[in-house]
Amino acid sequence: MSSLELKDIVKNYGAFEALKGVSCAVEPGEFVVLVGPSGCGKSTLLRSIAGLESISSGEIVIGGADVVGREPADRGVAMVFQNYALYPHMTVAQNMGFALKMAGRSRGEIDQAVKRAAEILRITPQLDRKPKALSGGQKQRVAIGRAITRSPDVFLFDEPLSNLDAALRSQMRIELGRLHDELRATIIYVTHDQTEAMTLADRIVVMNDGHFAQIGSPLELYNRPANRFVAGFLGSPRMNFFNAAVVSADPANITVRVEGAGDDLVLPRNGDAALEAGGRIMIGIRPEAFALGAEDGLTFAGIARVVENLGRETLLYLDCPDLKTVDSESQEGYVAVQQSSQFTGRHGERFSFGVSADAFFVFDGDGNTVRFPSSTISSQ
């Protein structure tokens, strides 16, 4: 039995459809991350599961029962808020025990649960302090501790790390991973940070415009994005997209003309049977697929406008005279290139990179992926 099952959830705000009928099932102990651009409906969905928003139609099944009519406190969920939402007038221990107190549990039971959660989170010394006296990371732990004391069926996290600075964020990320292993808790986690999504999730749900664009494991989504939205959303810098057209197609090969490129490219068919001559398509290339000086496939020669030396990797933004990206990292149509090595080049210099046709993603006119790079593992 699933811990949480969403069945065709619809949420309308007047004429605006925030959730357009989404469904999925979450297994016990699974860590599911909801990602998507702002306004995609991920927070609305999380708040609907919590019962803070009412849904227009659909079912939310937690622990075998439809909880749609229930109060937030009676749904078997606990939530960790973006701004922690700790009660400033209560001590840490009172904050963590408040839900049990409201549920009418005995003092001993409450103390027990608070003590246990505090030990797991290593905040026992802070139990008698008020939230104002805590650091950001400690507040975050208390917020999580408050959820743990309730021992809910499902934990809900609403962008919990977005208020922390970068160093603390990666530390808490690791901590969250440890907690998940330790508690074997079912977690639904909303974030706009793809690093959090990639590192924490068992499964990622990419949301766009009130839909689930794709559900899958992090690598599956990265390697085999179902559509151009997912392909562009995961990965930083973004995938480079180029407009292209199918010049000719036969059962064995298709010939593709990339806008701005000198020569047509012949690609062997690879599950892309639907493509026909004359169709408008898009080519997608990950920044890490570029090989310096390579000659095969598509070649990109241009001036490096920006060179970002990050130590363990280098990012270049290449200004090619005719080959321009669309809807990609750079507004000016520069090509984003990542090299997993240090690089002596400076901006203003000329470089040439090649990308083998094997590394192309191909998207049809509707944005669906019709061909994946042949080199990647298909983790199914």
Partner: protein, 273 residues
């Protein structure tokens, strides 16, 4: 510093000092008169009292100042408590309900702000009289509460709009309903707004005159402003006793005001915002 700036500074201090003197002089004269004998005030109204003469205070206190003081305190505390509680509860519900109906109710309560008590004296007197409440504390506590509610509701409404929603959502997840959220989460965190509202209403109710004049005729129930006026009517020209009575009423308020002037000023300046 240039001559012109020095001159400006001198004029500024001069003007402020003059106005302060104008403000302080009547209070000083009140205190001086309270310590004088009837004869001394007639012969030398301007001078300082020769010696500290507490006779006038004794007369004032015995005529009922002690009772008036207590009455005012009871009425003020009760009214302010009702105002703060009722306004807080209503403002919370209204600030959290986007429905048209609730917006209309809010506007209705706000409209009550515009109705002056002077304009409804007759029907109010008739109603209280018909209810048999004349000469009871309720006859002024309830109207005081009602007339304090609109403004206090507006004040709390603005405060609650800015109150972090996440705390209330967390409380809902922790099992609180509307009422327990209000009393367990909102009230403990609304100290500044409550203090501000309470100070504001205390100043007005402590000094309220017309309703108290109308509703309370029994000397044992009269509040300070009405009681003081009665003193004056009883003792035409016994200025020392009247001023001693006034001093008893005014000096404690002034001391509290000076001690907490920051909060008074902030609370009353809030009217402009």
């Amino acid at each position: 510093m240039s001559n012109r700036a020095t001159l400006l500074l001198g004029v500024s201090y001069g003007f402020m000092s003059l106005w302060s003197l104008f403000v302080m002089a009547p209070v000083a004269l009140m205190l001086a008169a309270a310590f004088k004998s009837k004869r001394a005030i007639f012969l030398d109204p301007l001078g300082f009292p020769d010696n500290l003469n507490f006779d006038a205070f004794q007369r004032a206190w015995d005529t009922g100042m002690n009772v008036f003081l207590l009455n005012s305190a009871i009425v003020t505390v009760a009214s302010v408590a009702v105002i703060v509680l009722c306004s807080g509860m209503a403002a919370y519900v209204l600030a959290r309900s986007p429905s048209r109906m609730m917006q209309l109710i809010y506007l209705l309560i706000v409209a009550g702000f515009a109705v002056p008590v002077q304009a409804v004296l007759v029907p109010l007197f008739q109603m209280i009289s018909a209810a048999g409440l004349l000469n009871s504390r309720l006859a002024i506590i309830l109207p005081y509460a009602a007339y304090g509610i609109p403004f206090t509701t507006i004040l709390f409404y603005a405060f609650f709009l800015d109150f972090p929603r996440e705390l209330e959502e967390a409380a809902r997840l922790d099992g609180c309903g509307k009422i327990s959220i209000f009393f367990r989460i909102i009230v403990p965190l609304s100290g500044p707004a409550i203090a501000s509202a309470a100070i504001f209403q205390t100043v007005f109710i402590w000094n309220e005159f017309v309703l108290a004049l109308l509703m309370l005729t029994s000397p044992s129930l009269k509040t300070l402003p009405v009681g003081i006026l009665q003193l004056q009517a009883e003792w035409t020209a016994d200025w020392p006793a009247i001023m001693a009575g006034l001093s008893i009423a005014v000096v404690p308020v002034l001391i509290i005001f000076v001690a907490a002037q920051k909060y008074f000023v902030r609370s009353l300046a809030g009217l402009g915002k």
